[in-house]
């Protein structure tokens, strides 16, 4: 505990350097804008701005990119409350009661509760991250190839289990991602795989063109401008403070959302999205007046907003301590660290303390910045929301092209982005979630290497995964999750995931 505090103080000495403060501020500001603007989510925002960080050191880069991620969770609530359009996916639940509050003339109060709830939950998440990540990294140092293989398989199965689409659909997406991740030179034998004579594919397909294509361009292709209409309810600054009654109604949902969000954040999947749905369902279930949900219930804003912010911080635990992405956003962040020569994982804490602790400390500072940014600048965000989408999306496409091209100055990457954009559009039509694909792409090299090393270690004996305690435990959890899914499938009954899927398509839980 004492060493953690000393390390955290060292982190603050890094995070409070003027340069690092500046990049945290830029990240938070851009993240808020990304969250506010519909049609551009945190993943495309981070991917597009990744090349901008090439000139920075690893600490500055990860501070800025993470700022975009948690900043977008704050910003998403503004659009949800004022326009009833989710600025990004995790703000869907905030739309319902947030906008209902706005229509009752309580837009300012809803924005303030969302911002304060986000700050409390974000800070809670960072405290937990500070306490959990370093000991977890110490345990992870004992991991060998069989443990990593079992962990990655568990990650994929957990993602499939938690997904609101079906297990088969999620695993199919993960398989496509794994296949894309195997394009290029095989690290262990030097064979070229599926590169079709293109030298650019020798190093494999990058995560940025795939992520920007699937999430950025794919979203634009599926969103004609005539479909994006919405009136902005502009709050008055003097109405920003909630009443004492509203604070009372918000306090416990914020506390519950913070804990729930953090726990879900650690689990693989689109955690910040799932957490807000579950928090909303929980608050509605335990409320003494459930009939108020959908008509401007304070708990319907406070709980989900706290949960999605806490979840976005929780997602950093496996990323930093184990080097395992829990979703596409942390996958891109791992990619960003690797570009700067810093591998995420157990060695990060011991080998790169400046990066790890500087990053953790910057999140404390960043959350304060976001609280200070979000409320006073609400007028600016309202003005931004008045820019017609028809003028906005050509700009986003231009940033997609620049962002992808600048990674390795390869036009092939831009073509890959375009192909992925069309693929992402088709996936939306057929009700596939592209997130597991990105996850599969990122873990493919680690997974293949650890699987093959495990088999070489055991002379081809699969029992190696059952003979080591950690990997055995992970395999048992994987089998348990598959059994639970199979049970729901065989009994053909609706479990909580089916209900969540129904909520996502518009039926509130």
């Amino acid at each position: 505990m004492e060493s953690t505090l000393i390390s955290l103080l060292h982190g603050f000495s890094v995070a409070l350097q003027p340069d690092n403060l500046w990049y945290a501020f830029i990240g938070c500001l851009v993240g808020t804008l990304v969250g506010v603007l519909p049609g551009i989510g945190p993943l495309s925002g981070i991917s597009i701005l990744l090349p901008v960080t090439f000139g920075l050191n690893a600490t500055q880069a990860v501070i800025m990119l993470a700022g975009i991620y948690y900043g977008s969770q704050y910003g998403g609530s503004t659009t949800s409350i004022l326009m009833r359009i989710p600025g990004e996916a995790s703000s869907v639940m905030t739309c319902i009661d947030g906008n209902a509050m706005a229509k009752k003339g309580r837009a300012g109060a809803a924005l303030c509760i969302a911002a304060v709830g986000s700050w409390i939950a974000g800070t809670f998440g960072i405290i937990m991250l500070t306490l959990i990540a370093p000991p977890l990294a110490t345990i992870a140092l004992r991991f060998g190839p069989p443990e990593y293989t079992a962990l990655l398989v568990l990650g994929l199965i957990f993602l499939a289990y938690m997904s609101s689409t079906s297990l088969v659909r999620t695993l199919l997406m993960a398989c496509i991602g794994l296949m894309l991740g195997m394009i290029g030179i095989d690290n262990m034998t030097g064979h070229f795989r599926y590169s079709f004579g293109l030298a650019e594919l020798g190093d494999g397909i990058g995560i940025v063109p795939v992520a920007v294509g699937l999430f950025g361009l794919g979203e634009i292709l599926a969103t004609p401008s005539h479909k994006v209409v919405g009136e902005v309810i502009a709050p008055k600054l003097r109405e920003l403070l909630p009443s004492r009654q509203e604070w009372r109604e918000a306090s416990m949902p914020i506390a519950r959302g913070s804990v729930l969000g953090f726990i879900i954040g650690i689990i693989p999947g689109s955690a910040h999205i799932i957490s807000s749905f579950l928090s909303y369902a929980l608050e509605k279930r335990i409320s003494k007046r459930p009939e108020e949900f959908g008509k401007g219930a304070v708990a319907g804003v406070a709980g989900p907003e706290a949960a999605n912010n806490s979840a976005s911080t929780g997602a950093f635990v496996p990323m930093l301590a184990l080097g395992i992405p829990t979703g596409p956003i942390t996958a891109v962040l791992i990619g960003a660290l690797m570009i700067h020569g810093v591998p995420a994982g157990p060695q990060l804490v011991s080998d790169h303390p400046d990066v790890f602790w500087g990053f953790v400390a910057s999140m404390y500072v960043g959350n304060l910045m976001l609280l200070a940014l979000n409320l006073p600048l609400v007028g600016l965000f309202v003005s931004l929301l008045r820019i017609p989408y028809a003028y906005l999306y050509p700009l986003i496409i231009m940033f997609c092209v620049i962002g992808v091209y600048e990674v390795s100055h390869s036009i092939v990457d831009v073509w890959i982005m375009l192909i992925m954009g069309v693929f992402g559009y088709a996936l939306r039509k057929f009700n596939f979630d592209p997130a597991p694909l990105v996850l599969g792409l990122v873990i493919a090299p680690i997974f293949e290497q650890s699987l093959r090393q495990s088999l070489i270690m055991s002379n081809g004996n699969y029992l190696i995964f059952f003979s080591r305690p950690i990997s055995l435990g992970l395999v048992i959890v994987s089998i348990g999750l598959l059994a639970l899914s199979a049970l729901a499938f065989v009994l053909n009954r609706k479990d909580w995931r089916t209900k969540l899927a129904e909520a996502e398509v518009g039926k509130t839980p």
Binding site: V168, C175, T189, L221, M398, H409, V414, L455, I456, Y462
Partner: protein, 148 residues
């Protein structure tokens, strides 16, 4: 039999898995004690075929293929065509010219905006972006035959 969306999706994934298998023909699978470069691709391709088949077989739970909404298809095709054209010209014409043309195309052809207003908006946003990348971020962007 009514064709459903998962029939189409499942069949596509099965075909994709078979194609990957065919393309992996020259990659050595190796042995379990020494897996080769083709080991995991073939394993994943098999899994894709199995999962694709499962999707196909359970397709009656999905919506009819004919009911999938393609009303945004024209918008998607036009956006793709204009962006692809700009990509083809990107390294040849340079950043400024290709991106101005792309934004102008998107605004005038798809969004039916006033040519003059769209032109001013495209030029201004592209020039500001160019300035930010070149002078603030020191990130080089492709230059065309005219040097910009």
């Amino acid at each position: 039999m009514k064709i459903r969306s998962d029939h189409v999706a499942g069949a596509t994934f099965v075909t994709f898995g078979v194609v990957i298998f065919a393309l992996s023909g020259d990659l050595p699978t190796g042995r379990l004690s020494m897996p080769g470069a083709g080991f995991l691709p073939k394993l994943v391709a098999t899994l894709t075929i199995v999962l694709g088949a499962a999707l196909f077989l359970r397709a009656r739970e999905s919506e009819p293929f004919s009911s999938l909404g393609w009303s945004d298809g024209k918008h998607a095709m036009l956006v793709m065509a204009i962006t692809a054209a700009a990509t083809a010209l990107y390294t040849w014409l340079g950043f400024i010219s290709s991106m101005v043309l792309m934004m102008l195309g998107l605004l005038v052809v798809i969004e039916r905006r006033n040519l003059l207003r769209a032109g001013v908006y495209s030029l201004c946003t592209v020039m500001v972006t160019y300035g930010v990348f070149i002078w603030v971020l020191k990130a080089p962007l492709p230059k065309g035959p005219l040097g910009f």
